[in-house]
Symmetry: C2
Subunit: 564 residues, 2 copies
């Protein structure tokens, strides 16, 4: 019955990973090493690539064409089974991989996937892991990956095999450094595992290498727990599934606590600064009483007062039903979605840069009337935070505002008011939570583990076939793994331009929660029911074997038209 921790995972005898060498594996971690990673059937036999029609861009195709003269218009590629093993494909490839940006469960499996592809289909290949993100490419800091090095990371969370970083390859000098590294290592290909920015960067690299007549191809891979990098051909970014299930486990526990105790309102802030996919998914998994979706707040041009009133109204209705408890989910980026808050912040930055904040508050008269009202509406602690805490550029630090605590305070004030007016009889105690780091590095779910392995394996196939400027795409994800489709999508086809400093900059548009999409519509159709009648679900801890262990998240299923 004791814990059977392994000091070193099996198979790591010869050249174990320096990070994991000092690590001890739990029984679950060890077991995950042996978890099989089935491939879609098309990746199991001989296959060839079929090109589709020429692609365009998500917006402003003319500008994208100018920015990517070599990449623009590339067709998407699809892998299809073929009768015989294709001949003439090169062997002994030299491939680099890099992890870019924040951690997401499954990153290690993408690397395992491309590594195994090369081992099996392009013998005598070499894989270099660039260390610490794109900076590793620029500084030519890398480690040569071997089966023994990679093995201990199979199906394990984190990015610590080669670590990640947030640098970008942007300036001509930085591109030059990347070229030098590619030449020095004689790279045939590079796999960039990252989010929207990193994949845009991957495409710029691909364009640059091609322009310089270099042989180095670049393929991207969709990573982000926020779930905001996706499109028709790339139905999901990896890590979202695991992160949402970890958060939902915690929310489920807190819900059961709320119902048992009967006296707390839990305000749970969840990751997702730009988009509210995580909040939406967690609401669908747990049936929280309230979930605020930033995209809806923005679309309806709601004010902070509107949001406060919405929450307060439900609390009052619940009190009438005898429920003085509940669970409320809030996306971390909520206040970025509220126009009036953005306006206030802009005015504050201006005032704080030039004026003295006098104790008498005369400075407030410099605020426009709407901003003045909003400022007065904010809890005192938040007012002080806005005035005192600035970033190195002297700007107000919006990201530091603990939205869940701010809302608790505002709801409290509003409830006091209603109590004195006699429209609320109940008791309110708010508890705040922030679930963030806890979900980025968990052991990947079976779905993320398999999906990532297929993404990496597909990236190997694309590079092997000489493709560049594509993002690895695995589709038909609601079907059994066998039937998953595999291919590559032109990165330029996901792009639009933004005007920055008088220039057009290419961007992969973040996929926001669509108010007309199936996940939001499902949520919208249920939320009144969930608000008043406690239809809580406790998903429980992620299971790796047995019931529920192969479930896919609701967002993906609903988007794919399946019944979640």
């Amino acid at each position: 019955m004791g814990f059977a921790n392994s000091v070193l995972p099996e198979g790591s005898g010869k050249s174990p990973a320096p990070g994991r060498l000092t690590s001890v594996y739990s029984e679950v971690q060890t077991n995950r090493l042996h978890h099989p990673l089935p491939l879609p059937s098309v990746l199991r036999g001989p296959f060839k690539l079929l090109d589709g029609p020429p692609s365009s861009a998500a917006g402003n195709p003319d500008e994208i064409a100018k920015l990517f003269p070599n990449m623009f218009g590339q067709p998407s590629a699809k892998l299809v089974p073929t009768g015989s093993v294709p001949t003439g494909l090169p062997q002994g490839l030299r491939i680099g991989v890099v992890l870019s940006g924040g951690q997401a469960p499954g990153g290690h499996n993408v690397i395992s996937g491309i590594f195994d592809y090369l081992q099996e289909r392009a013998q005598r290949s070499t894989v270099y892991g660039f260390k610490g993100g794109p900076a590793g490419i620029m500084k030519c800091k890398y480690v040569e990956l071997t089966p023994d090095f990679i093995y201990p990371y199979r199906n394990q969370g984190g990015f610590d095999m080669i670590c990640s970083g947030r640098d970008k390859i942007e300036t001509p000098e930085q591109f030059k450094q990347a070229e030098e590294t590619a030449m020095k290592l004689d790279l045939d290909g590079l796999l960039v595992i990252g989010g929207d920015d990193s994949n845009t960067n991957a495409c710029l690299l691909a364009e640059n290498f091609r322009q310089k007549n270099m042989k180095t191809r670049v393929i991207g891979c969709p990573k982000t727990i926020d779930g905001d990098l996706k499109c028709k051909e790339v139905p999901a970014s990896f890590g979202f599934d695991t992160a949402c299930k970890i958060y939902s486990e915690m929310i489920g526990n807190v819900m059961t606590d709320a119902r048992s105790t009967g006296k707390y309102y839990h305000f749970v802030r969840l990751m997702g600064r730009a988009a509210s996919h995580i909040t939406l998914e967690c609401a669908l998994q747990t049936h929280s009483n309230i979930a605020i979706i930033g995209e809806e707040v923005a679309a309806k041009k709601e004010t902070l007062k509107n949001v406060t009133d919405y929450i307060t109204d439900i609390i009052c209705k619940r009190a009438k039903l005898g429920y003085n408890y509940g669970v409320i989910l809030i996306p971390e980026g909520l206040i970025d979605f509220i126009p009036e808050v953005q306006q206030l912040i802009a005015e504050l930055n201006e005032i704080l840069a030039h004026d003295v904040v006098d104790k008498e508050g005369l400075w407030k008269k410099k605020l426009q009337q709407q901003s003045q009202l909003l400022f007065e509406f904010l809890p005192q602690a938040i007012q002080e935070q806005l005035l005192l805490e600035r970033d190195p550029h002297g700007n107000v630090q919006v990201a530091k505002i603990e939205t869940e605590k701010m809302l608790i305070s505002m709801v409290e004030t509003e409830l006091e008011k209603r109590k004195s007016e006699g429209t609320y009889v109940g008791h309110f105690k708010g508890q705040s939570h922030f679930f963030g780091y806890e979900g980025r590095c968990g052991l990947p779910t079976n779905f993320d583990a398999t999906y990532c392995y297929a993404l990496g394996y597909a990236a190997g196939a694309l590079l092997h076939s000489g493709k560049t400027g594509l993002i690895s795409s695995v589709g038909n994800l609601s079907a059994p793994i066998d039937e998953w489709t595999v291919g590559g999508t032109a990165l330029t086809s996901l792009m639009d331009v933004e005007r920055r400093h008088g220039k057009f900059k290419p961007v992969i548009k973040k996929a926001m929660v669509e108010l007309e999409g199936a996940p939001f519509r499902k949520f919208a159709s249920m939320r009144d029911e969930w608000a008043l009648n406690n239809r809580y679900i406790s998903p429980g801890p992620i299971q790796f074997i047995g019931p529920g262990s192969n479930n896919v998240n609701h967002t993906l299923l609903l988007e794919l038209g399946a019944q979640a």
Copy 2:
């Protein structure tokens, strides 16, 4: 691959629980309903009770004897197998159960256990669930438990079957109310599921009923996630195992994140106001770089500066090794263990009650020198919190201090100092976490589920045999379930007295972390290694089937002399 949520758990057709009726079950929850609950072999066949020698008390036996003239000296009872089914035991018992105090995973299974015992061994029995804790007894608010009512709660987290409460039965009037309820329902017995206070209360009730010549017997059951209700015969309180595993899952994830990112120190505050068992267990499960054990801080009479320096020293050493990240565990009750903080709080309460806090800070001169120094040492935010936030009695709200944030701030200041002195070269970013509510209501582990079921079943056997004033005790827990021992321990044998308001009050002493005990010694022998060399373990999410699913926590195994 879709989620297969059941709208109503099976078997809840006739008289489903009102709480769970409005609930939807996740696949894991549904599956847990069917998880088998094996009984120790002694509970599976015919058994009889063997009484041991007369017992004494944990301290001041003379006073305990005076307080409990009927209960004191009772022998512990042990269940032993017997050849034939004992005859003459009453049937048709009328038994009440009550959940008292904070939630702990497994409470529902205790109720399932006693219910099943009575169904199987005392036919035509009735079980009443008192609602909302001891208040339910006093107000005679109850629900009659039926198989259909109970079924949906089997192996489920929370206390929502009958809910809990923190009231105590203390005054003569309250005892009178309890008597009236017992008479009204014609109760043969009462099972009190609670922590140290609740079990003390259970014994007082047992004494009172006996004194009044009432037939109602009272049995206690050891519950608390904090793990501070235990002794030789009661080796564990239920809920500790599940809670620690949930916290350790999160800590493991945060560790992997720390190692991947390489730039954060995560300060994790964990539940446990009186004792640091949870922090110790989580350190043993995860090998965090630092864990502060309150009992050691108290024993060594450490100051806040000592604790800060201990952490800062390790951070400096790690920086020299190239590690600017780490994970630090802190028990929620830390500052209660630091004598100088207690002194400062006492002085502040005195000063704030009588004096004006002038802006110039002249009031500080009223503090004793040591307290003045400590106050100045505290981060400004904490200083303000101490002065501004008071409870309804005007006292400083120590419980509201976010210890982890306070420590981050103090470590930061100390590191700045060392940086300017040239003794620290590195970068420090603190991230704070509090894991509390997330662990109290999780789905019970296999261990807690089985242990609780046995505790409840044993309580049924004790009441059926006419026992009173005992706590249900199940032992030999590191052996296979089959070999677990079952019995009851005299509650008075766990008691000592405390002097309060000039009177002796009986208390079950909280079991603190013993610095000479095996769990702490193991931790102490490893901590220097864990501090500098990252030997992180990520336990992963609790698994209900497969590898590791039947593991028991380290604390229990080490205390039982097994190798964890």
